[in-house]
Subunit: 459 residues, 2 copies
């Protein structure tokens, strides 16, 4: 399990020293961070800050960093990072008394373990005014977290203590979605923390006394192993939608056929991201985002993270997809890996693959044309194999041509009209009719449409 | 669609007048609430406040409500409600200039449309110090929302603008979970709103100018139709766990057999809730919760809401459960209702019911003992019917006794060893072997266990 600590930070230059307590250990600091590092020993820390603290200085003149005349967004981002780093060094590190902890913390903030994400905020402040879609924040952090989160088994801690406004909820939502994807093939433990609120409303001597005496306990407000949670959103690229649906509803051959290439996803993302940056107008104390990050960007960021993790799994399992034709054995191992934790989908998909295997094996033992074609290694429409076997029995024989989308779903996407089978003397190979991929996409897409309840119908 | 507006409120006596804008309409107020009411016209409003504002008065001496010497928690709750109501009347209503809107708002705060939930907070403040588990807040609001949320099709708006600390994220999480349950049989639209942040850091004349000129746009930060999302948590009552699993994995006969009675759930909840209240120590300026609300309380609150909604649906559809024996037709309509939006579970479950129906119908046409027993209306173990049909064919005949839990899942809980079938001359009736209900519970429970990925295995 790789431990990752994610912390949204509002404006650290407004925080005051107080004693935090977590799992029996106490530490006085302006932030919960050093204590969390001491107790959790995370392998990676991600601080999510806002661009609205660019050029910020509090009444005490902190941080002691010069005010700038911004002309491009990269400078804004760098300024915020510098301010956060200043805070980490001057306000946290220098106030840690325990030399051992001090050294540990020092390593953390200098090494590659700590990542600062400066996300686009919104609002009017004396230091800067930022104008733009609030949702950019969410799309931005999804993209950045998709890039930053490791592909390993994960133990993710989200400390909400220092978040403000929309930050905590949107970061919570982003992690919830990304970790739900990781959970398909990884063990993922998610813990949400929050310290007791900072005492407010006291002044003068009383305030000093309260701050001296109060201990803010850091509490778990959520602690659970994450269940796999598929994507349900659609994007404009219909093949990606088919792929998304294949994961949600257990269509292994759709999954393998439309498995996206990670570098293609990445370039779509990077291109839109560059466009987004290019369209941020920066003029002295004003930042204006003229273009927002799209819904496609959001969904593809999730997909990117999913594929990043799946690739690292498939590499180790010698699974090589995308691929249009797979042996039953390959399909089965694919199902075993991706639906390991969703037993019902796994069992249904394997049952459906198995039925096809059985029918093909019966066909090569039964005298007739189909047998000959199969034994010659020819690709045969599965419907023909099915009818070849069923023809002599009383029940179930059918010459279906029309496919009900519901049937497609009920048979794990292995609708008998749409697939071809092949026999190589050893195993059955399955593939879709390349002339009917449009239908495959259509039925897959249909499967993640949200059904509306028509109450008149079942009242 | 019934519109519900949920708003977490930190401390309203710290808010200042500013112009809010939403969907083109502007309104100056200390809160986003009157504008949201004007634009959204919700049928119900739920304000979630904290007990930590009990006895609170700001520097201007507001609210003008006497300070009390609390001796019991009910007084604390009443005090907070009074303060919130004072704010609504004196600080919002009286500042609305438009007479029409004023009247509308006035109706809202006097009628039954507005509900104030005073939730247990935590923290040390001059007015009060509250000590207790932070998670009590989450469990408390789950319970209260489960009681307050209507059973209709829903359009739920969550405005995070005025939430503080853990409030927004935990309320978001609670709604996300509850609405995911409603979505099984209801159309549920969820919209999360947040106004742009209040301008901070300005003083004196500059502050006055900024507050005069700034318009805080209320933005959608989330807007989606909710997918059904089952419960995965376990509780100590194993029958309830079986029921929970039946919804998550599509076991219609388990669902019908173990369908909980709403009044039983409610009394379990109410009893623990009373215990919780009884154990809150209130002494002048100190509140101490000596007992926390349990994990079972959390899960049963969700179940309560689910059953409340399902009951209102089943009443209209003449479905009468719990019931230990159901006709195939009854089971099918049950599946049609509860899994309407989860096509794959619906199709799989119906396929499994259908196979059983077919076998029984074949059995009553085939000469033999089983036919006779069925025609006499006897309950026959389905395994016997299956073997009776399969005996003469070459494949698939089996005398299974051991059940693989995976098999139980793969057949929608209709494992042939565990169920009995009956023929009434018209339809097939299904029921579990009453001596093996323990196994039914065991396999159901097993189905919602999170599988751990063992990377050694598939590397």
């Amino acid at each position: 399990m790789l431990k990752v600590l994610v912390v949204p930070w509002g404006n650290p230059f407004q925080w005051e020293q107080i004693t935090y307590e977590f799992k029996g250990i106490k530490l006085k600091s302006k932030s919960s961070l050093p204590l969390l590092i001491e107790v959790l020993k995370p392998e990676k820390i991600i601080i999510i800050a806002l661009d609205t603290i660019a050029n910020f200085r509090n009444r005490d003149g902190k941080p002691e960093i010069e005010l700038k005349n911004f002309s491009k967004y990269l400078d804004v981002e760098k300024d915020v990072k510098d301010r956060i780093k200043w805070f980490l060094e001057k306000e946290i590190l220098e106030n840690i008394l325990d030399p051992e902890l001090k050294q540990k913390f020092s390593k953390f903030i200098s090494e590659e373990k700590l990542k600062i994400i400066v996300a686009p905020g919104v609002g009017i402040f004396p230091n800067i005014a930022v104008e733009g879609e609030m949702l950019d924040f969410y799309h931005y952090i999804l993209y950045k977290l998709a890039k930053e989160l490791p592909v390993d088994d994960l133990e993710v801690y989200l400390d909400l203590t220092h978040g403000i406004n929309f930050m905590p909820t949107l970061i919570y939502r982003a992690l919830n979605n990304l970790l739900g994807l990781a959970a398909f093939v990884r063990n993922v433990h998610f813990v949400v923390l929050n310290s007791e609120p900072f005492p407010q409303g006291f002044i003068g001597e009383e305030k000093a006394k309260v701050l001296r005496e109060t201990i803010l306990h850091i509490r778990k407000v959520e602690d659970r192993y994450i269940h796999p949670k598929p994507i349900y959103s659609k994007v404009s690229n219909e093949k990606l939608v088919a792929f998304i649906a294949s994961l949600a509803n257990g269509f292994p051959l759709v999954f393998a056929t439309f498995y996206p290439k990670i570098n293609e996803l990445e370039s779509v993302l990077d291109e839109e991201f560059q466009e987004f940056l290019k369209n941020i107008e920066v003029k002295e104390k004003k930042i204006k985002r003229n273009k927002n990050l799209s819904d496609d960007f959001k969904t593809i960021s999730k997909l990117f993270y999913l594929i990043k993790i799946l690739n690292s799994t498939f590499d180790k399992s010698n699974i090589n997809i995308p691929k249009e034709e797979l042996s039953a054995k390959e399909l089965e191992s694919l199902v075993d890996i991706i639906f390991k934790k969703i037993l019902k989908i796994k069992m249904f998909a394997k049952r459906d693959i198995n039925i096809i295997k059985k029918f093909v094996k019966r066909a090569i033992k039964k005298e007739g044309e189909i047998k000959e074609r199969l034994l010659h290694g020819e690709r045969v429409r599965y419907l023909e194999v099915f009818n070849f076997i069923k023809k002599d029995t009383t029940d179930d024989a059918k010459e279906r041509q029309d496919i009900d989308p519901r049937n497609f779903i009920a048979h794990s996407g292995l609708a008998m009209d749409l697939i071809y089978v092949k026999w190589n003397g050893n195993d059955v190979f399955l593939s879709y009719d390349e002339d009917r991929l449009k239908e495959v996409i259509e039925y897959s897409t249909e499967s993640i449409r949200i059904e509306k309840v028509d109450h008149k119908n079942h009242q």
